[in-house]
Symmetry: C2
Subunit: 355 residues, 2 copies
């Protein structure tokens, strides 16, 4: 459960709360984890990481510095792992999945660099963002470089089908980001409009990352589509939980601050639900804090209280469970085995983060 | 000749000078012009413009607004015209050059949007920049969209060779932009370092735009390379003259303000030459104004005076003439005719702007 024993910590600013999780299953390592997919793709992922380091090099040393900063900061490499595991699921024997997994990570990293500029973010995964360290300019330009480099890698691979999938995904991601700009700070945003945004900006790349595994294994269209469907719905579930985590306990464990989205006035599903379920006074609170960005001491705590009152976080995770179930069923046409189990684990892990 | 009868115009800020050109050849329409290339590709260019309008559409209306703003603001469409004229030179009969010319313009437009963010520019071609109208965020994201859209167009075209040329160009452009960031405000920048930057950030796309004409016409490697060489050297000449124009009379005629580069502390060839040819007092002036960006009333006029004293603008145009000559010779292997003459005119026009 999302437990919100919130406590304002003044030295981190008025609206930074630390929430203590009462659930300790994950702490003891008993919850769903990425252990099986990690084991499945470990060798491949090592080679992908080498490729990433090799191909982000440039005679212009600032590029490798900025790219290295965000790539080394790491993250889970979830998207390239999905390409690797999908290729494995499709019984692919070759080496093309390595460069294409790197390619997916480059596109992801390029969008992160630009996202941080657009959001004016100072922290990502607990470290200073590239724009905080070097300013916005290198972040914009190194993002462009990584994007171009991703296309160079695809051209080397030589599949027009892969190029089609990832250029389409890139256009959709950019559209989603712009759509998010427009809906930003609008508390009237509907759940559908919110879903459209996260489908475009997050789930589309998950879908593409998975689909590529079937493409290079030359699997029939139905299997390509099944992996696309798995990735898309996993991506939606993943983002929903991410948005819940921004208001929750587990976030603090991940080295992130709680309430970043609140401070930015971002409209995510927890807010959409709390706003729609709230009374007029509560809606006025959401409008003041998120639309007008007039935030005072204690506002984040009050937001957390409203979310608990209306079950907004639990129900966001419940919605994620719905998309997770679709993702699981999408894999039904594939034979059982280690690869399939690993991909199912990713769904379970993505959702369990919200507990 | 670059004539610098500079006069400070106070209501436009301390460092906005208007320079009166004593040369009136161009005013009377007798100088080199783009008339012949315009006539050569007029029908094709109309179709390219239609394609550009059609393909910048998106369900997210802000994208078409931002893209439309910068694309409609126009410019000469020089890069797509080069693709069209190069295809004509190679006796290409087909329709692929149209989409690829649009593609080149999309890449160019994406870099302009990002450039204006990186440079904090408020004006482009006499109109407000997209970032001035909508802020930096849409400019970054719509730039990403146009870049992705360019790759979608290439994928539809289906040539891996074209994808290779333009993904390589895109990576080199981004590298050049980052390199420019690093050399920015460094008055010690060498002419070679400056050339490396403009080769990457400007000339590479000119080269790619021209090379594509030979690729789709399936011409031998030597002709591909000849067009690449023409485009690269034309691009260098074009940028050199652009940099001279920023300090010159003709600029005011083009609806641009004089001295933008000076106010931004950009190190371009006119500055590189004036700095290297100046005495210690002069160098201190350049360091104060461009390195430390401490600019006072009358500084731009003084900068113009120093450039005239050392022939920095004339010699920048002289250098441009050198690259123009290389571009002209590169075309030597092609038969004479309307297409070749049109491409030669582009060289002459690019350089004559500096008079």
């Amino acid at each position: 459960m999302l437990v919100a024993a919130a406590k304002a910590v003044n030295q981190r600013g008025p609206n930074v709360a630390v929430i203590v999780s009462l659930d300790s299953d994950r702490d003891k390592g008993r919850g769903p984890s990425l252990a099986r997919i990690n084991a499945l793709v470990a060798d491949d992922l090592r080679r992908v990481n080498e490729l990433i380091m090799l191909r982000m090099e440039s005679p212009v040393s600032l590029i490798a510095q900025v790219a290295g900063h965000i790539i080394a900061a790491g993250g889970k490499r979830l998207r390239p792992m999905l390409t690797l595991a999908s290729a494995r699921l499709c019984d692919y024997h070759g080496a093309r999945h390595l460069a294409l997994a790197a390619c997916v990570e480059f596109i992801h990293t390029a969008t992160l660099l630009h996202d941080d500029v657009v959001d004016d973010s100072a922290l990502r995964r607990g470290s200073a963002t590239a724009n905080a360290v070097w300013g916005n300019k290198p972040s914009v330009l190194v993002g462009d470089f990584l994007f171009a480099r991703a296309f160079q890698l695809m051209v080397e691979d030589g599949s027009l089908r892969v190029l089609e999938i990832l250029s389409n995904a890139s256009a959709v991601i950019a559209e989603g980001e712009v759509k998010q700009l427009i809906t930003a700070n609008n508390t009237e945003t509907s759940e559908t409009a919110y879903l459209d945004v996260i489908k475009a900006k997050t789930a589309t790349l998950f879908a593409a990352a998975c689909r590529i595994g079937a493409v290079i294994a030359e699997r029939p269209q139905t299997q390509e589509e099944a992996l696309d469907c798995y990735g898309l719905n996993l991506g939606i579930a993943f983002q929903l939980v991410d948005d819940a985590l921004d208001y929750s306990a587990s976030q603090a464990q991940l080295g992130k601050t709680v309430g970043d989205d609140f401070r930015d006035g971002k409209i995510t599903l927890p807010v959409v639900l709390a706003y729609r379920r709230g009374n007029e006074e509560e809606r006025a609170f959401w409008r003041r804090t998120l639309q007008d960005l007039e935030q005072r001491e204690g506002d984040l705590d009050h937001a957390l209280e409203l979310m608990r009152r209306h079950g907004a976080l639990d129900d966001t995770v419940e919605r994620a469970r719905h998309y997770g179930a679709i993702a699981r069923d999408a894999l039904g046409i594939f034979p059982n085995g280690a690869a399939k189990q690993a991909l199912v684990d990713v769904i379970d892990f993505s959702i369990a983060r919200g507990y």
